[in-house]
Symmetry: C2
Subunit: 209 residues, 2 copies
DNA sequence: GTCTATAAATAGATAGAC
DNA sequence: GTCTATCTATTTATAGAC
């Protein structure tokens, strides 16, 4: 591989990107290898040249995506910031990871609905690392930062739930906006992230409890 | 149809229930009419006797589910409670609707990921009714209850996101608990609902803002 | 209402030429 | 690395007997 970015993506990269789109749009079982091949402008046999099977291709996409979130979250964990700032940075990390790979949120949401059936052990460990890290940050704030004694998983739900739903629901929100629901069109990425950050920190710092 | 509940469900009811499970587990495109027939203990031809197509069957399930949420939310809207109590009741309504039909949360979450592609106009109007109702409750509280001036859609995201993810993630949470993530096993329905209620009301009543 | 049988299209996957 | 051609299983859906 050359050090400069090639002008034309390799067939493997094209397959990878096309597959992410297909899995995002139709789910694992609904995705078709034929359609992925067409979208990637390769022959179907090329997919089996680069990947063992449809399931292996899907698992590789999952691994790539969750490894990226886990890496961002690990950076947050390693910083010297105060717990409240780490919470804010955690929210940012999730939002940035979701934004960097447009097909990630729908795939993530679908995988949750399937009970993580396609997560291989390595990918599952990335997921647990993310969840455990937030737990550690919350407990750190509880022991020496005055955080309220709340189950860290509630904070997790309050962050992942809204952020993931926001990014996964772009198309539906557009339909709701056209149907005349007020406020949907004004829901920007920044607004949502800032709100989730504020609510998480506010809940933990105990004002109004 | 008799007035008392029959001991054995009709073939139509069995198909309906089996289809909900199949769509929840595999998504619309991944669901198989053959598998639905086997699970419902009917012949595949029976499905086409009762329903026009796989898509029509799916849309009928969606309509039934969203009509149920819309009905519960309409009751909340019609009550004479104070805005803050209506917010709490709205959270309860969503949670109860999700709980009453175990396959609803995964189907809902998947439909969001698909941009609501399978929502017919009638069902879409149920969805917009739910979202609009929460908006009305928030604005009511803003004009005469001292609620903070926040985009109601942020409150909506803060409710639907965590509640829906909680109910849709039961299987994955079990895996995370087994993988040693602390706190996941203790995350009960009551804890989550109470937390989401408290956070929504706290955000709106402006403490710590 | 319920069944068997089957059509017609598409699925995932592979063999083998170049 | 890339292609054509093909195998086999499964897909949605229907025709028609009972």
């Amino acid at each position: 591989m050359s050090l400069t970015k090639r002008l034309v993506a390799s067939s493997r990269e094209r397959i990878f990107a096309a597959a992410a789109g297909e899995f995002a749009a139709r789910g694992f079982a609904g995705a078709s290898v034929d359609r992925i091949a067409r979208a990637a402008h390769v022959n179907k046999a090329m997919i089996y040249y680069h990947f063992r099977s449809k399931a292996a291709l899907y698992q590789e996409i999952l691994r790539d995506m969750f490894a990226a979130v886990a890496a961002r979250v690990a950076d947050v964990d390693a910083s010297a910031d105060a717990p409240a700032d780490k919470i804010r940075a955690f929210v940012d990390a999730i939002a940035n990871a979701a934004e960097a790979r447009p097909h990630f949120p729908p795939i993530w949401v679908r995988e949750i609905a399937e009970g993580g059936a396609h997560l291989d052990p390595g990918t599952l460990s990335h997921v647990t690392a993310v969840v455990k890290t937030l737990g550690r940050i919350v407990r750190e704030g509880q022991s020496k930062g005055g955080f309220a004694r709340i189950n860290p998983m509630l904070i997790h739900a309050g962050i992942i739930g809204p952020v993931l739903m926001y990014f996964a629901s772009a198309a539906l929100r557009q339909r709701l906006a056209r149907a005349g629901v007020p406020g949907v069109a004004q829901l920007s990425r920044e607004t949502v992230v800032a709100h989730v950050q504020r609510v998480a920190v506010m809940t933990l710092e105990g004002e109004g409890v």
